[in-house]
Amino acid sequence: MELGGAVVSGIAIGSVYALIALGFSFIYRTTGSFNFAQGQIVTFGSLISYSLYVSAGVPALAAIVIVAIAAGALGAIVERVAIWPLASRGDDTLTWLISTLGVAVLITGFAERVWGTIPLGVPNYVGPNVIHLGGQINLATPYLIGIGSVLVAAAAIEVSQRFTIWGKAMRATADNRQAVALAGVNVIRLGVVSFAIGGALAGIAGFVLAPITFADSTAGMSFAVLAFAALAIGGFASHWGAIFGGWLVGITESIGGTYAGLQYQDIFVFGVLIVILLIRPEGLTGSRNVRLV
């Protein structure tokens, strides 16, 4: 039953990666850019959760709202300082890749300064610590919250992008930014909004993660890398790709960690990523993205 347990906890942790990946893909599909500071926003979310829930004793439900707002604001700030000053350049992906990475370094430095580098423990938010799923498979409640929140988030995004005019405008922006402006829409404001939504998703992921991995100011890069891998594996075509990819990364990590040792778990993920990209460069659910020549 060790395998079953590994798969279940893999899906659970993978859901958190998926939540972060959703933020990535949301921002990408709207603005055509990635926020490489997304991983640091996750840690920021965890650390704020610690301060609110543990230090200040704020109820969990209020804490998650405050975390989402704060992380959303941070996402918007990232857009303002790292994307907006470069927006006049049009379609140059390289510069904002660096500028968001610069912000990532900045947030890490700031978080280390405020919260220190020692991981901070956060107790479980609700109910019993563990739910028995039958046999020897157990699931920690925080994971359950993770699975639930990623499904809700994906459904909400999907519905809004299919059926609301602003959602459609966000898809249109990914296609042709200038044309959206030429239709009379303030694309800069649209970009800030999407970074804020992406940031809020990352913040919620941080909130969910805090009881699982502790609030660790130095862990930002690992979240970014693993969520990005989830997205690449799943494909950019739909939000379900991010979820599927997140689960696959989570399961690989958890099986690799269980059977080969912790230092191998991410090497396994890397191997899976390479194999999948070589076979299907567009990801498992994606449209074609392969090099022509």
């Binding site: 459609k168 898809r171 990914a174 042709n176 402006a181 030429l182 009379g184 829409v185």
Partner: protein, 232 residues
């Protein structure tokens, strides 16, 4: 007051001024042809009119209001729409969604305008569920124009809409322009080739090296005179 006015505008890229003090007035219900050889600044002028390029000195006024510093989205929202290269369409969205975005700023007139666009450009109505990427080049140009019409604009800028298109498509566009003008839309149409523009416009401005060198009623411009002007 129902004018779009450009007053001694200087604009350009980097260290170069492409336009050097150009003035132009477009009234609603008239079609102004902008002609001139390659590199004369026709596209730049249309970018200035539609707010896509910053004005370095000079003024832009829309319906009596000072619009000199308005960015492109504000000009568009105020009723000045632009069609040119790269085409302002969304390849991965359906034709219908493209039109919806086109009319985003004026959702009140949506149903009415959609019906009208489908009448004027039937191909868009027929293929409304297909993605824009599936359309041919000419149809995509129709879609770009249809999207602009969705907001019931007061002014339309066409930057060489005929380039790369078959004559039959150009004819459709030209007829459409005539109709829009008769309904009170102001049109600015930039073209390099005289025979496309001349018959459709009431006024023509001839641009050379970033300046308007001649301007007047179309009837005053004989072909010979224009060719002289082109090749100096």
């Amino acid at each position: 007051m129902s004018d779009l006015v450009i007053e001694s505008v200087v604009a350009g890229y980097g260290g170069t001024d492409v336009l050097r003090g150009v003035s132009l007035t477009v009234r609603q219900g008239e079609c102004v042809g902008i002609i001139g050889p390659n590199g004369a600044g026709k596209s730049t002028l249309l970018k200035v009119i539609s707010g896509q390029l910053r004005i370095r000195s000079g003024h832009r006024r829309l319906l009596g209001k000072d619009a000199t510093s308005w960015p492109a989205y504000r000009m568009a929202a105020a009723g000045v729409r632009w069609v040119g290269e790269p085409r302002p369409i969304f390849p991965s969205l359906t034709v219908r969604e493209n039109l919806e975005i086109g009319g985003m700023t004026r959702r009140g007139v949506w149903d009415e305008q959609f019906k009208r666009v489908c009448e004027l450009l039937p191909v868009l109505g027929q293929r409304q569920q297909e993605t824009a990427a599936q359309l041919s080049g000419g149809q995509q140009q129709m879609l770009a124009i249809g999207s602009a019409l969705m907001s019931a604009p007061s002014f339309l800028c066409f930057d060489e809409p005929s380039i790369g298109l078959a004559p039959s498509v150009v004819n459709v566009i030209a007829e459409l322009v005539s109709q829009l003008v008769s309904e009170g839309v102001g049109v600015v149409w930039a073209e390099q080739f005289l025979d496309v523009v001349l018959p459709r416009c009431s006024t023509v401005a001839l641009l050379r090296s970033g300046e308007v060198v001649e301007r007047g009623a179309t009837s005053e411009f004989t072909r010979e005179r224009l060719e002289d002007a082109y090749f100096g």
